[in-house]
Amino acid sequence: MSAGYEASTYRTSYREQIAIASGNNNDVGFPDPLATDGDTTLRQRPAMAGVFAEDLWKPNERWIVRGGVRGEYVSGAQWTGVSPRASVKFFATPRLAFTASGGRYSQWMRAMRNEDLPLRVFDLWLGSDRTIPVSTSTQLGLGVERWLSDSRFLRVEGYGKTYDHLAEPASTVDPRIRPSLLRYFDGRSYGVDVYLRQLEHDGFSGWVAYSYGVTTRERDGLSYWPAHDRRHNANVVGTYAPARSRWALGSHLGVATGTPYTGWAGVMNRWRYDPIRGSWSGPGSDGTEDVRGPRNGERFPFYWRLDLSAERRFEIGGTSIKPYLNLVNIFNRKNVFLYTLDSKVDPPLIKGASQMPFLPSFGLRMEW
């Protein structure tokens, strides 16, 4: 049995300074103008104290039982939590085992970001305090492992998870973080992972992995798929490097169904209102605006990509020199990175930008 304690404290200081007023009216603003009342200074001094205990129990050759519990206190949030965890592994035969695990987990320091933004430039870490609750999760997993031969095994795992108090900023592009403007979601996910692994045998090794997953977020009675909710995902990786050969060849094939994005419900006329006369100026008098559809209600097309690599080893003196060539996305598959709507033409067009195109690269590795 092992036990211990943990104490940590952070000092964070976040300050942004955005000049708000400008005479130029052709620029991009941020989505929530009521958050623009000047500079933001956010200083946090979160601290956490925790104790934990864990025990590994092997009653016989067939069973491995691991249990533990973690108690935590987060000072800023005045939150106390007890998180029990347990896992069991049962060997039905020396080559077949079943696993089960469950537990409760908490997170009081998190990267604050809107998951719908395709790419993040900066991360801002926020600790829990009086206004930002601690995020928690309850997880359960069931699995089976089977050695098919001395160098090949198969693992299948199913899981189910629930989440509470996941925080995100309302905007994807506004760098201003205001705790009062954060949105909180609950969520759940479940799925199954299948993993077939070939350890090195006659120079060949590799693995095949397949995941089926469903993830949802819920808030105010509405639910949506988060941007990373990829329903089917498979990867095949192979390497051929015979012991007597100076060559090593590799390949990777990835295939997946599309991730969600927020589509469109058309375009709306914005109307200009005259508060003195109490009249509207006419359709489009304040321009037009793309109208978004349900959050992440659409999905990108099927994804696939094939990468190849080759490496040659030279021995010069006591130095091993390995020039290599990597070919990423060898078929130049235009997997969609994001879509945009061009509504100024009739019929409107959906345009897009692709992920990484065909990209060859080469280099040299040296070992001595």
Binding site: I18, V28, P31, D32, P33, L119, S171, D174, V267, N296
Partner: protein, 395 residues
């Protein structure tokens, strides 16, 4: 005061960084494909305004594209037959209907304003607007139900009194002590030819300061400073201030979120658009003047009735907040009457010489370009187009 102008340059940083990063990560453009049929949504525009006796609600649906019609008109797909109801917090409600002769998609309801704190009384289906109270809008269409809520800001009675305002001495003030439930303010400065607008989350009570108080950094602290380059003595201008609720403020000020999950500025559910409320506080016409402290300033009268040039003209040579026009400092402004039409004068002086553009107000007459000079107590102007030459004297 924090001033918020829609889509200012300085707030582009985040979006630019995001776009830059995305551009680097993205491979290349994917050729456009025809968009699938959209699931159209209802678009509703409604504002509760206690200063008017009729509330107008616009109901339409989202468009597939914004391509103008053949005649150049804006694309517009109104929704007829909608049920539009506004609910008050005291169990009262009123149904807005399409008035006779109004275009489809337009719904109106008569209203009265009740400001004494009581529930008020009104004829059937007349909406009672009580500032400070929360109202609910429900619009039923074939596309579904759109709902929104707003709280009407509270403010003093609308100040619409016209007055003469000396830019060298006077201060334009607004009683903000009585304003409640306002998320921000809408400010509009109107001249005869242009309007400048601005939204501000907070404003100072001193809207327009005398010139002596607007030197150095203080120029940016008064609410109408955004229009300072258009405020001239000798010209009649209008200054408007409206308290607005958070929905109205968001709708007109919110910026674009390229990856966001809602439409810019939308605060409705079940549809998109605006259900907001306003409280007009001031809409004041000011006859702007200044101290006459240089020879060319004052009221000038022609010796005879000219054909093209003004018969009378009042000029000020030291505008409070002069701006560059055509590379020269605009330092001469005023108002006159030419051929029965009011003209506004804009120009500059060079020594004893003066150059003026005389722009008719509310008339299709061509602007007049004139040059002239001071000679003793006389001002002599020449119309550069017609050649008419007129001598003016002060009275």
């Amino acid at each position: 005061m924090v001033s918020v102008h829609p889509w200012p340059r300085s707030r582009r940083a985040g979006a630019v960084l995001a776009a830059l990063g995305i551009g680097l990560a993205a491979g290349c453009e994917i050729a456009g494909t025809t968009a699938p049929e959209f699931d159209r949504r209802a678009v509703v525009h409604a504002v509760l305004n206690p200063a008017v006796a009729q509330q107008t609600i616009i109901v339409e649906r989202t468009l597939r594209s914004v391509t103008p019609a053949v005649d150049g008109a804006r694309a517009y797909e109104p929704i007829a037959g909608a049920r539009v109801v506004i609910y008050g917090p005291r169990g009262d409600s009123a149904i807005a209907v399409r008035p006779a002769g109004a275009v489809a998609g337009t719904y109106r309801v008569e209203s009265i304003t009740v400001a004494d704190g009581s529930a008020g009384t009104a004829p059937p289906n007349v909406l009672r607007l009580r500032p400070g109270e929360r109202y609910r809008l429900r619009v039923e269409t074939t596309l579904g139900v759109t709902v929104g809520e707003t709280t009407i800001p509270v403010g003093p009675a609308l100040d619409g009194a016209r007055r003469t305002f000396n830019l060298d001495h006077d201060t334009l003030r607004l009683n903000l002590g009585a304003v409640r439930n306002a998320a921000g303010f809408f400010l509009r400065h109107e001249t005869s030819t242009a309007a400048h607008e601005r939204y501000a989350a907070t404003i100072d009570a001193a809207l327009l300061l005398p010139r002596v108080a607007t030197t150095g950094d203080s120029i940016a602290t008064w609410p109408f400073a955004f229009a300072h380059e258009s405020i001239y003595p000798g010209i009649t201008q209008r200054f408007t201030v409206v308290a607005v609720d958070s929905n109205y403020f968001r709708y007109y000020v919110a910026g674009f979120d390229p990856f966001g999950d809602d439409t810019r500025g939308n605060t409705l559910t079940g549809g998109v658009g605006l259900f907001g409320a306003v409280a007009p506080l001031m809409s004041k016409t000011l006859d702007l003047t200044a101290d006459a402290d240089t020879p060319i300033e004052g009221a000038w009268f022609a010796d005879f009735v000219p054909v093209t040039l003004p018969s009378t003209i009042s000029l000020y040579s030291s505008p409070s907040y002069p701006s560059e026009v055509g590379g020269r400092r605009l330092s001469l402004t005023g108002t006159g009457r030419a051929a029965g039409v009011t003209v506004e004068a804009f120009g500059y002086t060079e020594g004893v010489g003066a150059t003026l553009q005389l722009i008719p107000v509310g008339s299709s007459n061509q602007p007049i370009a004139a040059t002239g000079s001071m000679s003793g107590l006389n001002l002599v102007l020449t119309d550069l187009r017609s050649g008419e030459r007129v001598t003016y004297r002060k009275r």
